[in-house]
Symmetry: D4
Subunit: 163 residues, 8 copies
Amino acid sequence: LVGIVMGSDSDWPVMSAAAEVLDELAVPHEVGVVSAHRMPQAMLAYGADAAGRGLRVLIAGAGGAAHLPGMLASVTSLPVVGVPVPLKYLDGMDSLLSIVQMPAGVPVATVSVGGARNAGLLAARILGASDDALRARLDDFRSSLEASATAKGAALRARLSSS
Amino acid sequence: LVGIVMGSDSDWPVMSAAAEVLDELAVPHEVGVVSAHRMPQAMLAYGADAAGRGLRVLIAGAGGAAHLPGMLASVTSLPVVGVPVPLKYLDGMDSLLSIVQMPAGVPVATVSVGGARNAGLLAARILGASDDALRARLDDFRSSLEASATAKGAALRARLSSS
Amino acid sequence: LVGIVMGSDSDWPVMSAAAEVLDELAVPHEVGVVSAHRMPQAMLAYGADAAGRGLRVLIAGAGGAAHLPGMLASVTSLPVVGVPVPLKYLDGMDSLLSIVQMPAGVPVATVSVGGARNAGLLAARILGASDDALRARLDDFRSSLEASATAKGAALRARLSSS
Amino acid sequence: LVGIVMGSDSDWPVMSAAAEVLDELAVPHEVGVVSAHRMPQAMLAYGADAAGRGLRVLIAGAGGAAHLPGMLASVTSLPVVGVPVPLKYLDGMDSLLSIVQMPAGVPVATVSVGGARNAGLLAARILGASDDALRARLDDFRSSLEASATAKGAALRARLSSS
Amino acid sequence: LVGIVMGSDSDWPVMSAAAEVLDELAVPHEVGVVSAHRMPQAMLAYGADAAGRGLRVLIAGAGGAAHLPGMLASVTSLPVVGVPVPLKYLDGMDSLLSIVQMPAGVPVATVSVGGARNAGLLAARILGASDDALRARLDDFRSSLEASATAKGAALRARLSSS
Amino acid sequence: LVGIVMGSDSDWPVMSAAAEVLDELAVPHEVGVVSAHRMPQAMLAYGADAAGRGLRVLIAGAGGAAHLPGMLASVTSLPVVGVPVPLKYLDGMDSLLSIVQMPAGVPVATVSVGGARNAGLLAARILGASDDALRARLDDFRSSLEASATAKGAALRARLSSS
Amino acid sequence: LVGIVMGSDSDWPVMSAAAEVLDELAVPHEVGVVSAHRMPQAMLAYGADAAGRGLRVLIAGAGGAAHLPGMLASVTSLPVVGVPVPLKYLDGMDSLLSIVQMPAGVPVATVSVGGARNAGLLAARILGASDDALRARLDDFRSSLEASATAKGAALRARLSSS
Amino acid sequence: LVGIVMGSDSDWPVMSAAAEVLDELAVPHEVGVVSAHRMPQAMLAYGADAAGRGLRVLIAGAGGAAHLPGMLASVTSLPVVGVPVPLKYLDGMDSLLSIVQMPAGVPVATVSVGGARNAGLLAARILGASDDALRARLDDFRSSLEASATAKGAALRARLSSS
């Protein structure tokens, strides 16, 4: 249902978090390397064929002059989630602006710098908009976040009061 | 199906573009002012009740320390689209970072500074992921963008060659 | 008298400096984890109940799209001090702008990136505005800063002249 | 109770908003021009004498290399609220960083670029921490903000539904 | 010899300066609208066919998430000159980073924000690297710049000394 | 044919990538240290003599207040490629702006921060604009990039499916 | 004694403030247009000859990739004051970084964006370091600044108390 | 003749480079810790007494909200050189803007982030403006820079040609 693509296999350490959270939520997905700049025709074909192949959301990560999410969005009507991958310099600010500042007509759903886990969650929320069972799992996920945060707070207070 | 909210009615000149494009695509939507900082309890209630009221996507615009999109995302499992509204200073960079840099667990689908039209389109793409008729309208929309761009290019060339 | 809260226990290495300086100044305080995005209702409750529980100042640290200080300020009339916690990327600039750029009506007293010690001092100054004994301790604190800086300068000069 | 100072009378159009909101909240205050760079000795004297003269909070606005708030904070133990005044270039980013990035030991409570109204409100919150009547007025103020935002939302919806 | 393209006809007021300076230097060129996001297939075809059609340099202007120069560079081995077109917000910083920060393997020759005249001159220098007559015209152009600057300096001194 | 110069031999670890890719493409080149600030007359002489010595493209790398590329461009009509070398602070943003923001009349073809490999490729593209054999090698180079990216994607998918 | 130069006569509206304050302080000066990029040889000659012609300080203003101050500093041992002139975009941040970030060995005394008046004052302070009469005039100048600021503060207070 | 001061002894690893180059040039100097925020009265006294004690230039280094250079400049007519010391976050951009963006009337001669060696050289150039022997030593210094850069270039070329 979800296609996770990135401009280079060196982006995988960042992008794997998207796949992980989709696994946690039992959302089927595929992973691929689709470089806007090194394989432009294959990249456009990937985007153009995505809906026909049954994909419903695309997640695309790229760094620097990050063109992959926006170019995919130009050849599909599926929602495209963009992950700004930080490079060695500039802390991902170039990646962020290259992805989020799309012109009117072709939107990309951008998440935080390096925010691949949130990209996976956003894809799940998108699918959950029409899938009550998945949305219920997302509700559970949010509850577990709250429980975990509450527990951490209690642990911190316990640690402090005993010191 | 889509709830469009903003932190202040002064955001409407920017945010109205989201409503317009949803009108063009025949996607039902509602509009409201829901301020994270001035009506926090009502804001959380809006987010928490959204799915139950039948909404499937939220679009939230805010400026400066823009907390509305992220706070809504914390109380619903629906996808939330965030629009950074530029204020008088800083060109919307504060709004952008306040919206896009969400912590892992709570994603916001961020669009460009002032990009309310793209927020509407993204909401439509999200709904279209499970609505073939809407996705077909979005395909038509992309075709019309292409036709319009092609026509403008032809007009420019004609203007230049005749001058 | 002072409530120190943070969005995640991972913020504690930064935020502990606020507790330390309040200890030095003998100002009672409590510590907690209150996440705006993972436990929004509990977070609002914390803020809304703070004055009634006898707190007089809140210190809130958060990173990235840092919504905790501003959201607390929206549900209490107590002064809220915000600490921008730097994350892995962007050097805390996102945290700073998310905290300091609050809209008119709901102020947050923002300190420097990672400036939790100053947050504690600011809380003490706030309480000292109506507590002459505490303000006298703060006067002593400033005197000790001056003495320490003067001594360090003398030591540096001594080291240089003997080399 | 509150001293509002600024580096130049050209800052008054920005800083007057601090005085206005203190008037609304019936908090006594004085206004002055105290330039860190043009009258350094008088500036330090102003800060050093403030507590003795009965002031309980200082609000200081300055632009560019904005040294006034930090220098006042170095000679008083009262809380100092800093307002970054935007100049012709750089949108107040220089003013913000010059005010907020104070070294450990000497805090300044920084508000948003041009945020003088919030500086006044923050001063009132600081005084209200030990003044129940003032804090009650601040609670009323927050209620009025909520009522106003709610009314504006209703008006917007009414306008849209009738168009 | 030179193809000047832009993402939208609204870029023409900026990009026309490239055509003007090529006219001054008698370098043949064509102008077109080729949108990376609105006509992606036609855009790639333009780039892929450019060398075969006899073009020797491409100049591409785009704003925001500016993908046109980089995408053209991915489908041709001709040199591509990128012009960051400034949009309403962010002063072209997004356009600049989206164009200049290309990954290793696919270079774009980037000029200044709004620097279309320099893009034209750079295209001429590129052609002049193998065309002695054109390079001689460029030498003359540089001489005329020097003469003009010298004359303006003399005029300024004359104006000042007579006042 | 290509002159690769840099402001300091400490730039060589960055700039060597330009020489390497020119070696891969069999493009003759020379390497030198030509400091704008430490040997200004020799620097101008290098630029002024370049065309006469048979060079056809210059590549110049420099960091901080990076004046070398622009000054060379002021004394030659050859195309000059500028490489922003990142220094210890500011991530090369100072280098980038110092190189790319040239005034109208004197262009520099700027590549990414630290992008020396792309500078070499751009020089090759420039020479290839009038050298069909070199352009064919560049076409092959692009094909090999595509093959490599495709292979990496296949390897990643294989690794994931077998885990 | 002071040479004021700028890259273009369009910089004069900014740079004239340097000449004005030198007139106020009775410091002889000359004005010229010396473009680093359009007349590089004449620019270097101006710098190299400055000391021999009796100049003791140079003031150089430039915008964008502002190379003039640094290049002058490379051919003279006189102190060079650099004025970042803001251009249409980027608010002078490019000009500032291009001037201030000089490599070790060749300093430029940089003032604020558009700060030509301060450049003139700095030149006067430099000359006043060895000229007691001039330094006395500068002492008077500082006194008049203080008197003026004090008077403006009194006027503001008077205006407010009478309203 | 030169007073080198800094806000904290932790700045000495950066600031020592100013003392070193003054030693190389045989310019007498003193070193001290003078904190604007921790010893404000002593800091103003240092500046006010500097000229009377025979100092002719001040060098002041500080980080973050760096107020030391500007405050010294407000109480002396001597030239003040400011060194932006980088702190843990923001790469010294806060320090730079806090020092360079001084208001009209009170200039600070700012050098690069961490540029203490250049601060020492600038102080020497300032003194050399009225000291022919020192200026001759600075001429020699520039010649040695050129010789060193030339030698490094020759060594690099030798190394490359022999490999």
